[in-house]
Symmetry: C2
Subunit: 159 residues, 2 copies
Protein backbone atom coordinates (compact mmCIF):
# COMPACT_ATOMS: atom_id res chain seq x y z
CA UNK A 1 0.00 0.00 0.00
CA UNK A 2 1.29 3.44 -0.91
CA UNK A 3 2.09 5.88 1.90
CA UNK A 4 -0.75 8.23 0.87
CA UNK A 5 -3.19 5.30 0.84
CA UNK A 6 -2.13 4.42 4.38
CA UNK A 7 -2.76 8.01 5.47
CA UNK A 8 -6.21 8.17 3.88
CA UNK A 9 -7.14 4.77 5.34
CA UNK A 10 -6.05 5.75 8.84
CA UNK A 11 -7.82 9.13 8.67
CA UNK A 12 -10.99 7.27 7.66
CA UNK A 13 -10.60 4.81 10.51
CA UNK A 14 -10.06 7.57 13.04
CA UNK A 15 -12.73 9.78 11.48
CA UNK A 16 -10.31 12.68 11.10
CA UNK A 17 -9.90 15.40 8.47
CA UNK A 18 -6.51 16.75 7.44
CA UNK A 19 -5.24 19.83 5.62
CA UNK A 20 -1.80 21.03 4.55
CA UNK A 21 0.25 24.16 3.92
CA UNK A 22 3.04 23.75 1.40
CA UNK A 23 5.90 25.83 0.19
CA UNK A 24 8.74 23.84 -1.44
CA UNK A 25 6.57 20.79 -2.13
CA UNK A 26 4.26 23.09 -4.09
CA UNK A 27 1.09 20.99 -3.96
CA UNK A 28 2.70 17.56 -4.02
CA UNK A 29 1.35 16.57 -0.59
CA UNK A 30 -2.21 17.58 -1.53
CA UNK A 31 -1.80 15.87 -4.90
CA UNK A 32 -0.66 12.60 -3.32
CA UNK A 33 -3.50 12.56 -0.79
CA UNK A 34 -6.11 13.37 -3.44
CA UNK A 35 -4.68 10.70 -5.77
CA UNK A 36 -6.50 8.34 -3.43
CA UNK A 37 -10.16 7.69 -4.19
CA UNK A 38 -12.29 8.55 -1.16
CA UNK A 39 -9.87 11.21 0.06
CA UNK A 40 -12.56 13.91 -0.11
CA UNK A 41 -13.99 12.64 3.18
CA UNK A 42 -10.68 13.12 5.00
CA UNK A 43 -8.92 16.02 3.24
CA UNK A 44 -10.50 19.45 2.93
CA UNK A 45 -7.86 22.07 2.17
CA UNK A 46 -4.37 22.64 0.84
CA UNK A 47 -2.65 26.00 0.69
CA UNK A 48 0.35 26.31 -1.59
CA UNK A 49 1.97 29.46 -0.25
CA UNK A 50 4.85 29.74 -2.66
CA UNK A 51 5.66 33.41 -1.93
CA UNK A 52 6.27 35.07 1.42
CA UNK A 53 3.38 37.42 0.73
CA UNK A 54 0.96 34.49 0.50
CA UNK A 55 2.42 32.95 3.66
CA UNK A 56 1.56 36.18 5.46
CA UNK A 57 -1.72 36.99 3.78
CA UNK A 58 -3.36 33.58 3.62
CA UNK A 59 -1.67 31.64 6.43
CA UNK A 60 -1.14 34.56 8.78
CA UNK A 61 2.61 33.98 9.15
CA UNK A 62 4.04 37.09 10.81
CA UNK A 63 6.24 39.31 8.65
CA UNK A 64 8.65 39.61 11.60
CA UNK A 65 9.01 35.82 11.62
CA UNK A 66 9.87 35.78 7.93
CA UNK A 67 12.31 38.68 8.32
CA UNK A 68 14.02 37.36 11.43
CA UNK A 69 14.16 33.61 10.71
CA UNK A 70 13.37 33.35 7.00
CA UNK A 71 10.76 31.31 5.15
CA UNK A 72 12.82 28.15 5.66
CA UNK A 73 12.74 27.92 9.44
CA UNK A 74 11.14 26.12 12.34
CA UNK A 75 9.28 29.29 13.30
CA UNK A 76 7.72 29.69 9.84
CA UNK A 77 6.48 26.10 9.55
CA UNK A 78 4.99 26.37 13.04
CA UNK A 79 3.02 29.44 11.98
CA UNK A 80 2.08 27.87 8.63
CA UNK A 81 0.57 24.80 10.25
CA UNK A 82 -1.26 26.92 12.80
CA UNK A 83 -2.58 29.08 9.96
CA UNK A 84 -3.90 26.24 7.85
CA UNK A 85 -5.54 24.59 10.88
CA UNK A 86 -7.34 27.86 11.60
CA UNK A 87 -8.51 28.29 8.00
CA UNK A 88 -9.53 24.70 7.40
CA UNK A 89 -10.90 23.67 10.75
CA UNK A 90 -9.24 20.31 10.07
CA UNK A 91 -8.34 17.97 12.91
CA UNK A 92 -4.70 17.70 11.85
CA UNK A 93 -2.42 19.49 9.43
CA UNK A 94 1.10 19.42 8.14
CA UNK A 95 3.29 22.22 6.76
CA UNK A 96 6.53 22.25 4.78
CA UNK A 97 9.05 24.91 3.85
CA UNK A 98 12.45 24.18 2.41
CA UNK A 99 14.96 24.67 -0.35
CA UNK A 100 14.23 22.09 -3.03
CA UNK A 101 16.95 23.35 -5.33
CA UNK A 102 18.74 23.04 -7.62
CA UNK A 103 19.51 26.65 -6.63
CA UNK A 104 19.48 28.16 -3.14
CA UNK A 105 17.12 30.93 -2.08
CA UNK A 106 19.60 33.81 -1.86
CA UNK A 107 20.30 33.09 1.79
CA UNK A 108 23.17 31.10 3.28
CA UNK A 109 20.86 28.12 3.80
CA UNK A 110 21.79 24.99 1.84
CA UNK A 111 19.73 23.18 -0.79
CA UNK A 112 18.07 20.24 0.93
CA UNK A 113 17.29 22.08 4.16
CA UNK A 114 13.60 21.45 4.81
CA UNK A 115 11.42 22.08 7.86
CA UNK A 116 8.11 20.35 8.49
CA UNK A 117 5.52 20.78 11.21
CA UNK A 118 2.58 18.57 12.07
CA UNK A 119 -0.09 19.66 14.51
CA UNK A 120 -3.46 18.65 15.90
CA UNK A 121 -3.96 22.12 17.33
CA UNK A 122 -2.71 21.09 20.75
CA UNK A 123 0.55 19.33 20.09
CA UNK A 124 2.96 20.46 17.35
CA UNK A 125 6.00 18.46 16.25
CA UNK A 126 8.71 19.94 14.03
CA UNK A 127 11.16 17.99 11.92
CA UNK A 128 14.25 19.26 10.10
CA UNK A 129 15.71 17.52 7.06
CA UNK A 130 19.19 18.04 5.70
CA UNK A 131 18.99 16.19 2.42
CA UNK A 132 22.07 15.91 0.28
CA UNK A 133 20.90 14.42 -2.97
CA UNK A 134 23.39 14.61 -5.81
CA UNK A 135 21.12 13.74 -8.74
CA UNK A 136 17.61 14.87 -9.63
CA UNK A 137 17.94 17.18 -6.65
CA UNK A 138 14.73 19.21 -6.90
CA UNK A 139 12.49 16.22 -7.49
CA UNK A 140 14.22 14.11 -4.84
CA UNK A 141 13.89 16.85 -2.21
CA UNK A 142 10.22 17.33 -3.01
CA UNK A 143 9.43 13.62 -2.85
CA UNK A 144 11.44 13.19 0.34
CA UNK A 145 9.66 16.14 2.00
CA UNK A 146 6.22 14.87 0.99
CA UNK A 147 7.07 11.36 2.25
CA UNK A 148 8.16 12.86 5.54
CA UNK A 149 4.97 14.94 5.77
CA UNK A 150 2.80 11.86 5.29
CA UNK A 151 4.86 9.92 7.82
CA UNK A 152 4.45 12.72 10.36
CA UNK A 153 0.67 12.56 9.94
CA UNK A 154 0.71 8.77 10.37
CA UNK A 155 2.87 9.06 13.45
CA UNK A 156 0.73 11.72 15.11
CA UNK A 157 -2.59 9.96 14.61
CA UNK A 158 -1.11 6.59 15.46
CA UNK A 159 -0.23 3.93 12.93
Amino acid sequence: MKLEEKVVKLLHEKNLVMSCAESCTGGLIAKRITDVSGSSAVFNCGIVSYSNEIKEKVLNVKSETLMEFGAVSEQTVREMVKGVLAISGADIAVSVSGIAGPNSDNTDKPVGLIYLAVSDGIKTVVKKLNNQFTTDVRNSNRISASDEALNLILKMIGE
Copy 2:
Protein backbone atom coordinates in the same frame (compact mmCIF):
# COMPACT_ATOMS: atom_id res chain seq x y z
CA MET B 1 9.63 20.54 -23.53
CA LYS B 2 6.95 19.58 -21.00
CA LEU B 3 3.72 21.56 -20.93
CA GLU B 4 4.47 22.98 -17.47
CA GLU B 5 7.93 24.04 -18.64
CA LYS B 6 6.34 25.90 -21.54
CA VAL B 7 4.00 27.70 -19.15
CA VAL B 8 6.80 28.72 -16.77
CA LYS B 9 8.97 29.87 -19.70
CA LEU B 10 6.18 31.97 -21.19
CA LEU B 11 5.25 33.51 -17.84
CA HIS B 12 8.91 34.48 -17.40
CA GLU B 13 9.04 35.99 -20.88
CA LYS B 14 5.87 37.98 -20.31
CA ASN B 15 6.85 38.86 -16.74
CA LEU B 16 3.58 37.50 -15.37
CA VAL B 17 2.67 35.71 -12.15
CA MET B 18 0.05 32.98 -11.99
CA SER B 19 -1.99 31.28 -9.28
CA CYS B 20 -4.54 28.48 -9.25
CA ALA B 21 -7.61 27.20 -7.42
CA GLU B 22 -8.12 23.45 -7.61
CA SER B 23 -10.80 21.05 -6.61
CA CYS B 24 -10.70 17.69 -8.45
CA THR B 25 -7.04 18.07 -9.50
CA GLY B 26 -6.22 18.43 -5.81
CA GLY B 27 -2.88 20.22 -6.14
CA LEU B 28 -1.69 18.59 -9.37
CA ILE B 29 -1.60 21.88 -11.30
CA ALA B 30 0.44 23.61 -8.59
CA LYS B 31 2.66 20.54 -8.31
CA ARG B 32 3.36 20.47 -12.05
CA ILE B 33 4.18 24.18 -12.21
CA THR B 34 6.45 23.99 -9.16
CA ASP B 35 8.20 20.90 -10.57
CA VAL B 36 9.91 23.44 -12.79
CA SER B 37 13.01 25.10 -11.36
CA GLY B 38 12.60 28.87 -11.39
CA SER B 39 8.83 28.69 -11.02
CA SER B 40 8.91 30.69 -7.78
CA ALA B 41 9.28 33.89 -9.83
CA VAL B 42 6.07 33.22 -11.78
CA PHE B 43 3.82 31.23 -9.40
CA ASN B 44 2.78 32.55 -6.02
CA CYS B 45 -0.30 30.73 -4.76
CA GLY B 46 -2.36 27.58 -5.08
CA ILE B 47 -5.57 26.92 -3.20
CA VAL B 48 -6.76 23.32 -3.03
CA SER B 49 -10.38 23.81 -2.02
CA TYR B 50 -11.44 20.21 -1.77
CA SER B 51 -14.60 20.82 0.27
CA ASN B 52 -17.46 23.20 -0.44
CA GLU B 53 -16.80 24.90 2.88
CA ILE B 54 -13.25 25.81 1.80
CA LYS B 55 -14.52 27.00 -1.58
CA GLU B 56 -16.78 29.43 0.30
CA LYS B 57 -14.48 30.39 3.12
CA VAL B 58 -11.17 30.77 1.32
CA LEU B 59 -12.19 31.50 -2.28
CA ASN B 60 -15.38 33.39 -1.51
CA VAL B 61 -17.59 31.19 -3.69
CA LYS B 62 -21.19 32.01 -2.77
CA SER B 63 -23.15 29.33 -0.91
CA GLU B 64 -26.11 30.07 -3.21
CA THR B 65 -23.95 29.24 -6.22
CA LEU B 66 -22.93 25.91 -4.70
CA MET B 67 -26.52 25.13 -3.74
CA GLU B 68 -28.08 26.15 -7.04
CA PHE B 69 -25.48 24.92 -9.55
CA GLY B 70 -23.28 22.60 -7.50
CA ALA B 71 -19.50 22.55 -7.04
CA VAL B 72 -19.03 21.12 -10.52
CA SER B 73 -20.40 23.97 -12.59
CA GLU B 74 -19.41 26.89 -14.77
CA GLN B 75 -20.64 29.32 -12.11
CA THR B 76 -18.45 27.76 -9.40
CA VAL B 77 -15.22 27.75 -11.43
CA ARG B 78 -15.88 31.39 -12.38
CA GLU B 79 -16.12 32.33 -8.72
CA MET B 80 -13.13 30.16 -7.81
CA VAL B 81 -10.85 31.86 -10.32
CA LYS B 82 -12.08 35.28 -9.26
CA GLY B 83 -11.43 34.34 -5.64
CA VAL B 84 -7.88 33.15 -6.15
CA LEU B 85 -7.01 36.19 -8.26
CA ALA B 86 -8.24 38.41 -5.43
CA ILE B 87 -6.26 36.51 -2.77
CA SER B 88 -3.05 36.14 -4.74
CA GLY B 89 -2.89 39.39 -6.67
CA ALA B 90 -1.54 37.28 -9.54
CA ASP B 91 -1.82 38.47 -13.14
CA ILE B 92 -3.56 35.32 -14.30
CA ALA B 93 -5.18 32.31 -12.67
CA VAL B 94 -6.89 29.07 -13.50
CA SER B 95 -9.52 27.10 -11.60
CA VAL B 96 -10.82 23.54 -11.90
CA SER B 97 -13.77 21.64 -10.47
CA GLY B 98 -14.92 18.27 -11.70
CA ILE B 99 -15.71 14.67 -10.97
CA ALA B 100 -12.47 12.71 -11.23
CA GLY B 101 -14.09 9.43 -10.23
CA PRO B 102 -14.10 6.53 -10.04
CA ASN B 103 -17.31 7.35 -8.13
CA SER B 104 -19.70 10.23 -8.78
CA ASP B 105 -20.39 12.99 -6.25
CA ASN B 106 -23.93 12.02 -5.22
CA THR B 107 -25.44 14.21 -7.92
CA ASP B 108 -26.65 13.19 -11.37
CA LYS B 109 -23.45 14.58 -12.92
CA PRO B 110 -21.25 12.01 -14.65
CA VAL B 111 -17.67 11.04 -13.83
CA GLY B 112 -15.43 12.94 -16.24
CA LEU B 113 -17.45 16.17 -16.19
CA ILE B 114 -14.92 18.91 -15.46
CA TYR B 115 -15.16 22.70 -15.64
CA LEU B 116 -12.17 25.01 -15.90
CA ALA B 117 -11.90 28.78 -15.88
CA VAL B 118 -8.93 30.96 -16.77
CA SER B 119 -8.91 34.67 -16.08
CA ASP B 120 -6.66 37.71 -16.16
CA GLY B 121 -9.15 39.66 -14.06
CA ILE B 122 -10.72 41.26 -17.11
CA LYS B 123 -11.44 38.40 -19.45
CA THR B 124 -12.58 34.99 -18.21
CA VAL B 125 -12.81 31.90 -20.40
CA VAL B 126 -14.60 28.74 -19.28
CA LYS B 127 -14.08 25.28 -20.68
CA LYS B 128 -16.13 22.15 -20.08
CA LEU B 129 -14.71 18.64 -20.44
CA ASN B 130 -16.73 15.48 -20.80
CA ASN B 131 -14.06 12.84 -20.42
CA GLN B 132 -15.00 9.21 -20.82
CA PHE B 133 -11.94 7.27 -19.80
CA THR B 134 -12.50 3.58 -19.24
CA THR B 135 -9.27 2.67 -17.47
CA ASP B 136 -7.33 4.42 -14.71
CA VAL B 137 -10.26 6.83 -14.62
CA ARG B 138 -9.37 9.01 -11.64
CA ASN B 139 -5.76 9.52 -12.66
CA SER B 140 -6.64 10.08 -16.32
CA ASN B 141 -9.25 12.70 -15.46
CA ARG B 142 -6.85 14.52 -13.18
CA ILE B 143 -4.03 14.54 -15.73
CA SER B 144 -6.39 15.59 -18.50
CA ALA B 145 -7.80 18.45 -16.40
CA SER B 146 -4.35 19.69 -15.41
CA ASP B 147 -3.17 19.54 -19.05
CA GLU B 148 -6.20 21.56 -20.06
CA ALA B 149 -5.56 24.11 -17.29
CA LEU B 150 -1.99 24.63 -18.45
CA ASN B 151 -3.13 24.91 -22.06
CA LEU B 152 -5.70 27.54 -21.09
CA ILE B 153 -2.98 29.60 -19.43
CA LEU B 154 -0.76 29.30 -22.51
CA LYS B 155 -3.63 30.30 -24.76
CA MET B 156 -4.62 33.33 -22.71
CA ILE B 157 -1.13 34.79 -22.41
CA GLY B 158 -0.30 33.96 -26.01
CA GLU B 159 1.85 31.05 -27.10
